[in-house]
Symmetry: C2
Subunit: 252 residues, 2 copies
Amino acid sequence: MAEERIFTAALVVIGDEILSGRTQDKNVAQIAQWLNVQGIRLAEVRVVADQEEAIVEAVNTLRARNDYLFTTGGIGPTHDDITVDAIAAALGTGVTHHPKAVATLTRYYETRGGVTQARLRMARVPEGAELIENRVSGAPGIRIGNIFIMAGVPHITAGMLDALTGTLEGGRPVVSKTIGGWVAESEVADILREAEKAHAGVAIGSYPFFREGRVGANFVVRSPDEVLVDRCLADLTRALEGAGHVVTGGGI
Amino acid sequence: MAEERIFTAALVVIGDEILSGRTQDKNVAQIAQWLNVQGIRLAEVRVVADQEEAIVEAVNTLRARNDYLFTTGGIGPTHDDITVDAIAAALGTGVTHHPKAVATLTRYYETRGGVTQARLRMARVPEGAELIENRVSGAPGIRIGNIFIMAGVPHITAGMLDALTGTLEGGRPVVSKTIGGWVAESEVADILREAEKAHAGVAIGSYPFFREGRVGANFVVRSPDEVLVDRCLADLTRALEGAGHVVTGGGI
């Protein structure tokens, strides 16, 4: 069997508000989950400040080594929204007003005080870019080559992801199944290691927690091949139960 | 006046569980907020997979250009916990069992089933490292040079940060003050840009939201110099009110 092609994506989160701790990022988890369904693996994330140099470095490094690059944040109408200019700089291209975005924004603001110069900033795109439909508010997302420029506000990004669903080439989605137990992961470390070693192509993650005053852990078995996942999960369950642990399917 | 020294930190979040979207990261915001109080700016964050090569690249790039480097995750007892080995590899040093950590873990597990080889994995540190007290559970954090190796579980990291409070050299903490209004940021973009331009050393962030069916935005004025923040905030408030907007101190 030929080795399966794995599609990867990277994400650059652009925003002083994340680095200052003012805002809790939600786009990493949201985009990761969406990518999983498209059969694309989120391979790396960077959070950078609203500074052109930092954005350019991250974008150029990550787009070169991943199939897709997503960015979130910095596409609003204010002075601290510099994503479009930074990505144009990274690509060595100019910035232009996209006619369809101008039309969309003009229509959107018709009943909202009218379009202004500041609002038309949101129609600016790197030359050669296409738009990503914004199903929630006015300003569209932007696609240029393998770069997808999304909003910072999570529910707007959710709408843009929805518009992109099914349009990106991916591999087989990763299947992940979870079992959990009220057991310290340190007690079963050998069992986990052996189970992973015995099943090539499968990764086992161990995620401990403290809840209701007790120690427990969930064990997540992942692979694009569901048959392998099921086989590994069955062996792991058997080994844990053989060592006297009670295991809950689906995790705790 | 001599230019003020700015202390920066970077954070490497280590964990497939963040990249798979299974777990919502909380350490970025928590560490950012803690660093602010220490007078240290979180300058950049990377989320990397549980892979030695990825960890080494991130650690070596970021520690070279920041005063401090924090990592979270991957210091538990299981096979997917490779942070200590990866950081030792990044530093070109060996790994050793820290005698104090061995003692701590032996004591901690005395009433919890006894210490085992797997549990003693959590006493492994890069050669020359010191421990960071874990006030919540058994396994300590690790400090080596300007690198701080913290837990992945947020409340354990919180305890480690608490133990580090006041021990790192920083500059003046950044002061940030917020005003908010039920106004579209695109309506006041010019006012924001002008206010920032008129006050060197101050950054204004604009954070739009949709709530209760209405559009609004918070404007955050930031600088290590509180006098500058207050002056800028007063001017910005005056300009917004002059344009007919109602402004709420502290934000909405």
